[in-house]
Subunit: 205 residues, 2 copies
């Protein structure tokens, strides 16, 4: 009898899965435990290959205690940067990025003007806090705004992988690139269901 | 004797050539006269093809008196949008755009915070004027920030054309794309020299 040929599915992980407290509880209540919990499940799934861009992995290292993580990390969670010098993307996306940035820049200026006009009425410290919040919302949220974000999008595209992220900017760009995505709070179910499927395939044989 | 085969060079024009007073004086002292002056020279140059993206041409129409412009405009200055759905660009440029925007966004916030802190000392109106200036400098200057800008870059790339512009953001992106560029204040000399060259080629025959 021939060996079973699994069609290996690729999955690209963002750090939020382990770092964001709203999400990581599925796997463990600290970043280190969440990573261990993920590795424990992932080790049982021969049909999935897990990847993380090196830049994102470096971010993750700031949150975990590496000495507590087993060598499984290295064989299960592959670190790989996208092949950025050979990937091309359609120029319509350049229009979208430029236009969206332009609108956000205008919003940021309006927030700044409002803050200046409000100083007479409120405490300066309070005003600046509010300005920072509004400005961040206008210019950072729901947009790809770091090279780590670009790494995630390009790696998922290059590998034709499923992208696991809670970042709204990344999700929006995943949609532009035709990349499949999954919210981290569905990810444990996804893994468990994959394990079940793999086991029932074994039984069938 | 065979007809001479000119290798036609393509040139893409930004509106600044006709609209910016520092530049257009080479051709005429109003936008309409500058455009007429350009058409007068361009009509004598069979070796150059002139293009303008439709979006930029639309901008130009806001500055000129169309009824004063002869039909030459239509045969000499071609309106063409870039073939944006078939053009691709290297993803390293996406990193550059995202990183540059990120730095600028931080600068914009610092300008806004400075403005809020300055309100006690200076007039609010004056503060807001200064804020707008600094914010524009941080977030607009030296960057491509409109779909018209993207049109110019992509059209010049598609046609392998010389881009005539005074916009520092466009020049920077032209360099990234390997597009040749020329400052508008050199453009009249460029046209006159091309006319001379074309005439001497005729004489040689």
């Amino acid at each position: 009898m021939e060996p079973v040929k699994f069609s290996k599915e690729k999955v690209v992980l963002d750090t939020s899965l382990f770092v964001n407290p709203d999400v990581r509880n599925d796997f463990g209540d600290t970043p280190t435990k969440a990573l261990e919990g993920f590795l424990f499940l992932a080790a049982q799934i021969p049909t999935l290959d897990f990847y993380m861009p090196s830049s994102i992995f470096k971010e993750l290292l700031n949150f975990i205690e590496p000495e507590k993580i087993t060598g499984d990390l290295l064989t299960i969670l592959h670190q790989k940067s996208p092949n950025k010098h050979e990937l091309f993307f359609p120029s319509v996306l350049l229009y979208e990025l430029v236009e969206e940035t332009r609108e956000r820049v205008n919003k940021g200026l309006r927030a700044a003007e409002k803050a200046v006009r409000g100083v007479q009425k409120k405490d300066e410290k309070e005003i600046i806090q509010e300005l920072r919040r509004q400005y961040r919302e206008a210019l950072r949220e729901g947009i790809i705004d770091s090279k780590e974000d670009v790494d995630l999008i390009l790696l998922a595209k290059e590998l034709n992988a499923l992208l696991v992220t809670a970042d709204q900017g990344l999700i929006k760009w995943a949609e532009k690139f035709g990349i499949r995505w999954l919210l981290p709070n569905k990810f444990k179910d996804y893994l468990l269901s994959t394990i079940k499927k793999a086991k029932s395939a074994e039984v069938t044989l």
